[in-house]
C-alpha cells in the first residue's frame, strides 16, 4: 500500500513525513518525527495524554489521522518552552509539584495553555472543567489546578 506524503508545520518548523492511511497523528508525531513528548494513554480520546494543538485548537492526537495534518500547524509539548526559557505553566507545574510520575504532564500543559489563550483569568471551576478531558492518576488534581491558576495570574501580570 502506498504511503501518503504529508507536509505540516510542527512547532514552527516545516516537516514532511510518509504515513499509512490508518496511522494517527499521534503515531506520526511519535514514530515518524520522533516527538515522543506526546503520550499515548488510551488511544480512544479519553485520557488527554496525547493533547496537541492543530491550528490553535486543542485536539487528542490519537483521534486524528496523520494525513489530516497536511498543511496544518501542529503544536506539541516540545515547542512549549522558548529556547531555554520555560513557559510560565511549565515553571509553575514544577514549583507547585503539580506532577508526580509525569506521564500526563505534557497533555495537561498543552490543554492548560489552550485554556489560558482563551480565558486568561479562569475560575477554579473553569480550570477543572477545561482539564476534565485530561486524566491524572497521581496528584488528585489539587496541585495542577493551583499551578494553572498561579500561571494565569503571572501571565496576566497580576
Amino acid at each position: 500500500m502506498a504511503k501518503h506524503h504529508v507536509t505540516a508545520t510542527v512547532n514552527g518548523d516545516t516537516v514532511e513525513f510518509l504515513c499509512d492511511a490508518q496511522e494517527t497523528l499521534l503515531d506520526c508525531l511519535r514514530d515518524q518525527l520522533g516527538l515522543t513528548g506526546t503520550k499515548e494513554g488510551c488511544s480512544t480520546g479519553d485520557c488527554g495524554a496525547c493533547s496537541v494543538t492543530v491550528n490553535g485548537r486543542l485536539v487528542c492526537s490519537c483521534l486524528m489521522l496523520g494525513v489530516e495534518a497536511n498543511g496544518k500547524q501542529i503544536g506539541t509539548i516540545e515547542g512549549m518552552a522558548r529556547g531555554s526559557e520555560l513557559h510560565p505553566l511549565q515553571r509553575k507545574f514544577i514549583e507547585h509539584a503539580a506532577l508526580q510520575c509525569g506521564i500526563c504532564t505534557p497533555g495537561f500543559l498543552i490543554a492548560a495553555k489552550s485554556l489560558l489563550e482563551r480565558q486568561p483569568n479562569p475560575t477554579e471551576t473553569e480550570v477543572r472543567y477545561w482539564l476534565a478531558g485530561n486524566l491524572c492518576r497521581c496528584t488528585g488534581y489539587d496541585k495542577i489546578v493551583r499551578a494553572v491558576l498561579d500561571a494565569a495570574a503571572e501571565i496576566r501580570g497580576a
Binding site: 477543572r128 496528584t139 488528585g140
Partner: protein
C-alpha cells in the same frame, strides 16, 4: 507531642524544604523517556493473542499460517517457556509462585480469564503483527466460568485449578476447590468479649475489583544478542524484579539480563509483576531482532492485575462509652485466576489502628476467572478497613459518641500489641485524630443535602534490600545512583538527604536511577519503601564519603583519622591538639583524591530495617443530589503521620493522589462483567476514574511522629492515603441521607434506589 511541618523547616538546611525536583524540567518539556518512548534500531513490533473466553481448555494452537506471513519474524506460545515448579516466594507485600507466573504470562493447559495471553508474534510492523494474530488458530474447549467470589466458594462451582486444595484448614480437604487458603489472626477471646458489649453490630460489605489506572500502559523493548546477552528497557516499579522473573522464566543466568527502568508513568503496585517482558525477550531471541511491545488500554484492563473485589463481614461489640470489647471480621478476597490475593495484609490491617483485647479475623484467598490481581496501593487494606471503619461509625452513631472520640478511646499507641503480632513503636494514630478534632473542617457547618464522615487508616510500610552509590567527582560535585525507580519525586528526596548530610548545594548532586548492571540488588519501588530505604542507603553512602574525605585530609596533614572531622561541607582538624590546618572543602578533597588514594565514593548495600506504619485520619463532606443519587465530594481533609516529610509538597501529593483514587473506588470505579464472563468496560470512558471536575481541592495536614529507626525519621507515606477514603465517603453519605451503604461503588443508580426505598419507609433524611 504533635509536630506539624514548619514552613520552611528550621531544623534542616534542605530536608523539609520545597525545592524544585531535579527531573522537573525533563518532565514538563517532553524530554523524559517513558516505557514506550525508546526505539532500538531494527526493532520489531510484538503483539499478543488473548483468550476470548473466560475459562477454556487450550487443546491445540496452530501457528503455521502466522509464521508464513511475510514480515513475521517470530511466533511464541507456552511451548517456548519451560514449566516451573509450584513454590510460594515472598515478594514484598505479595507472594509469587513461578508455576503461576509462567502460566499467567502465557496460558498453558487452560485460558483462565478473558484476555489471558495464548500466543505472541513479532513482525516488521504493527499491521502485519495484528494480521498474524488473526492467522493463529487456537482450539478451545470452552468451560463453565465463575466471576463472583461468593459463587466461586460454593460447592459445585467451576474449578479453575484441579490441583488446588485449600491450605490452612484441618483436616486438609480431599477435593480441589477455588479456595486457595484460609488464614486466621486471633487475639484474646472474642466470645467472652462480645458478652461484655452493650451494643453489637454486624454488617456485610462488598467491594468491586478496581484497577490502579496508571496512565502509562505497560511497555518494553527487549533485545537478545547471538551470544545470549539480553537487554530490556521497561516501565516498571522494580527492574531487579523484572530481571529475576525474566531470567527464571527463560532459564538464563541473571548476569545475562540487564534491565533499565524507563521513567514510569504511574504504577501504584500494578507494575511490580511481569506481563510483556518475558514475551518480548523470547520473541527477540527467536527473531534475533529487538522487539518492542506496548499494551493497549484495553489490554491493560483485560490482562493486567486490578486489586481484589471482596465480600467482608464485620462484627464489633462496644460498651456504652465507646470502648470496643470484641471485634471480628471475615474476609473473602478474589485473587483472580491464580492464588495470591492480598487477603493476608487485609486481615492484618483490619483492626491495626486500634488497641483491642479481643480480635478474630479470618480470611479466604479465592481464585476466579478474572485477571490475576496485582498489588494496588496498600494491597488488601482499603477493603477490610472500609468495612471496619463503617461499622465503627455506625456504632458511634448508635451510642451517641462522637466518631473521633470513639476512635481516640480505642486508638493504638506505642506499645499496643496488634492482633497480627507485633508491638508498635511510636505511631501517630492519636496525633492524627487530635489534628482532625482541632481542624476547622470538623466544625464547619454543613449545607442542605450534605453530610460529613471521618475514617482512619493504617498501613505497615516495608524496607528491604537496597543499594545506592555516591561518587565524589573530580570537581567536587557528586553523582548519586539509586536503584528504585522514581515514581513521584524520589530523586528530589534522595538529593535533599545527601545534600543535608554533606552540606553541599542541591544542584551539585545529580541523581540517576541505575540499571541492574550498575548496582547490586534493589527490591522494587513499592510498600512505600523508596524514600525510606533508598534514603537510608543514601545517608549511609554520604557518611562513607565524609569519612573517606576525613581520611584523605588526615593523610595529607599527617594526623590520625579521628583527629579530622567533617562539618559544614568541609574537613577540618578536630580538637585543640590536631594542629592548625585550614579547612578543606569537599571540592579541594576531590582535587587531591588521585594523590591520596584514588577515587572517593560511598556505596551502601543494606537490608533496610525499621520501616514503621503510617496512620491517617480523613474528614470528608459529601453533597447528595436527591433526584439523581449523584454523590459529590465537596470538601476533603487528609491528615497523616509522615514520620518526617523530606519534601512536603510530594508528601502532600501522595495524600491527595491516594484520596482521589479512594474517592474513585468509593463512587465510580468497578469492573463490570457480562454473564459470558467478559469484561464490559475495558476503557477510560466506561471505567471512569475521577477527573478534575469531580473533585474539590484536597486539604492536607502532615503530622510528624518521627520514625526512630530512620536517620531523618521517615515512614513510608504512599499507601496509607488510599485506605480511609471509602469509609470516609460512606460515613459522610450515611450522615447526609440516614442510609448506610455497604456496597461499593456508591454510584448514582445504587444511591437513588436505596434513597427511594428509605423514603418509602420514612428512614431517609433527604
Amino acid at each position: 507531642m504533635q509536630e506539624k511541618v514548619k514552613e520552611p523547616s528550621s531544623e534542616f538546611e534542605y530536608v523539609g524544604h520545597r525545592p524544585d525536583r531535579p527531573d522537573g524540567v525533563d518532565k514538563v518539556t517532553g524530554r523524559a523517556k517513558f516505557g514506550a518512548d525508546l526505539a532500538m534500531s531494527g526493532q520489531l513490533v510484538g503483539k499478543v493473542l488473548r483468550s476470548p473466553h473466560a475459562h477454556a481448555r487450550v487443546r491445540a494452537i496452530d501457528t503455521t499460517a502466522a509464521e508464513k506471513l511475510s514480515g513475521v519474524k517470530a511466533v511464541i506460545t507456552a511451548a517456548d517457556f519451560k514449566d516451573q515448579p509450584s513454590e510460594f516466594i515472598p515478594a514484598g507485600e505479595m507472594m509469587i509462585n513461578y508455576r503461576d507466573v509462567v502460566r499467567n504470562v502465557m496460558a498453558r493447559e487452560k485460558a483462565l480469564y478473558e484476555g489471558h495471553a495464548v500466543a505472541a508474534v513479532a513482525a516488521t510492523n504493527a499491521a502485519i503483527a495484528k494480521q498474524a494474530l488473526k492467522l493463529i488458530k487456537v482450539d478451545y474447549e470452552v468451560l463453565p466460568h465463575v466471576i463472583d467470589v461468593v459463587e466461586a466458594m460454593k460447592p459445585g462451582a467451576p474449578v479453575l485449578h484441579e490441583d488446588l486444595y485449600t491450605a490452612g484448614v484441618d483436616p486438609a480437604p480431599k477435593t480441589p476447590s477455588n479456595v486457595a487458603k484460609r488464614l486466621e489472626f486471633v487475639l484474646g477471646d472474642v466470645t467472652a468479649g462480645f458478652k461484655q458489649a452493650d451494643v453489637v453490630l454486624e454488617r456485610e460489605f462488598t467491594t468491586k475489583p478496581v484497577h490502579q489506572g496508571y496512565i502509562e500502559p505497560h511497555a518494553c523493548v527487549a533485545s537478545v544478542s547471538e551470544d545470549g546477552q539480553a537487554d530490556v528497557w521497561v516501565t516498571t516499579q522494580g527492574h531487579w524484579i523484572v530481571r529475576a522473573h525474566c531470567a527464571r522464566l527463560l532459564g538464563w543466568d541473571v548476569s545475562k539480563v540487564r534491565v533499565t527502568s524507563s521513567e514510569i508513568g504511574g504504577g501504584f503496585g500494578g507494575k511490580t509483576v511481569v506481563y510483556l517482558e518475558p514475551l518480548a525477550l523470547a520473541l527477540a531471541r527467536k527473531a534475533r531482532r529487538p522487539v518492542k511491545m506496548v499494551m493497549t488500554r484495553e489490554e491493560v484492563f483485560r490482562a493486567s492485575g486490578p486489586t481484589s473485589g471482596a465480600h467482608v463481614r464485620v462484627k464489633i461489640g462496644a460498651r456504652k462509652d465507646g470502648r470496643i470489647v470484641a471485634a471480628e471480621a471475615e474476609l473473602k478476597y478474589q485473587a483472580g485466576a491464580f492464588a495470591g490475593s492480598p487477603v493476608q495484609p487485609g486481615a492484618m490491617c483490619a483492626y491495626a489502628p486500634y488497641d483491642l483485647e479481643n480480635v478474630k479475623v479470618v480470611g479466604y484467598d479465592v481464585v476466579t476467572n478474572r485477571p490475576k490481581v496485582a498489588a494496588y496501593r496498600a494491597p488488601g487494606g482499603p477493603i477490610s478497613e472500609f468495612a471496619v471503619e463503617s461499622v465503627i461509625d455506625e456504632i458511634a452513631g448508635k451510642l451517641g459518641v462522637d466518631p473521633i472520640e470513639m476512635r481516640l478511646k480505642n486508638a493504638a499507641k506505642q506499645g499496643t500489641r496488634a492482633a497480627y503480632g507485633p508491638k508498635f513503636g511510636p505511631i501517630g494514630m492519636v496525633e492524627t485524630l487530635e489534628a482532625a478534632k482541632a481542624h476547622a473542617h470538623w466544625r464547619t457547618p454543613l449545607k442542605k443535602n450534605q453530610g460529613r464522615g471521618v475514617a482512619s487508616g493504617f498501613w505497615f510500610n516495608i524496607g528491604g534490600e537496597t543499594s545506592v552509590s555516591l561518587s565524589l567527582n573530580e570537581d567536587g560535585t557528586l553523582s548519586l545512583t539509586a536503584g528504585t525507580p522514581d515514581i513521584g519525586g524520589l530523586r528530589a528526596s534522595l538529593c535533599m538527604m545527601a545534600a543535608e548530610e554533606l552540606k553541599v548545594p542541591l544542584d551539585k548532586i545529580r541523581v540517576q536511577i541505575g540499571d541492574t548492571g550498575q548496582l547490586s540488588y534493589n527490591f522494587l519501588t513499592g510498600g512505600s519503601r523508596a524514600t525510606f530505604s533508598s534514603g537510608m542507603a543514601t545517608v549511609e553512602a554520604a557518611r562513607e564519603v565524609k569519612k573517606e574525605a576525613c581520611k584523605r585530609a588526615a593523610k595529607l596533614w599527617e594526623l590520625p583519622e579521628d583527629a579530622v572531622e567533617y562539618t559544614d561541607g568541609a574537613v577540618r582538624p578536630a580538637g585543640p591538639n590536631a594542629g592548625k590546618h585550614n579547612p578543606m572543602s569537599l571540592k579541594e578533597i576531590a582535587g587531591i583524591a588521585g594523590k591520596t588514594g584514588g577515587p572517593i565514593a560511598g556505596y551502601a548495600r543494606i537490608n533496610a530495617a525499621g520501616a514503621a506504619p503510617s496512620l491517617a485520619t480523613h474528614i470528608c463532606d459529601v453533597e447528595v443530589d436527591p433526584d439523581t443519587g449523584k454523590v459529590s465530594v465537596v470538601r476533603y481533609t487528609a491528615i497523616q503521620d509522615a514520620g518526617r516529610a523530606i519534601h512536603p509538597s510530594y508528601v502532600e501529593g501522595q495524600y491527595q493522589g491516594g484520596v482521589a483514587q479512594g474517592i474513585g473506588w468509593a463512587l465510580n470505579e468497578e469492573y463490570i462483567y457480562g454473564d459470558d464472563g467478559k469484561l464490559q468496560n475495558p476503557g477510560f470512558l466506561d471505567y471512569r476514574v475521577p477527573v478534575a471536575s469531580d473533585l474539590p481541592m484536597i486539604d492536607t495536614v502532615i503530622v510528624e511522629v518521627p520514625n526512630p529507626r530512620h536517620p531523618y525519621g521517615v515512614r513510608g507515606v504512599g499507601e496509607t492515603p488510599i485506605v480511609p477514603p471509602m469509609a470516609a465517603v460512606a460515613n459522610a453519605l450515611a450522615d447526609a441521607t440516614g442510609v448506610r451503604f455497604t456496597e461499593l461503588p456508591m454510584s448514582p443508580p445504587k444511591v437513588l434506589k436505596a434513597l427511594d426505598a428509605a423514603r418509602a419507609n420514612g428512614a431517609a433524611k433527604i
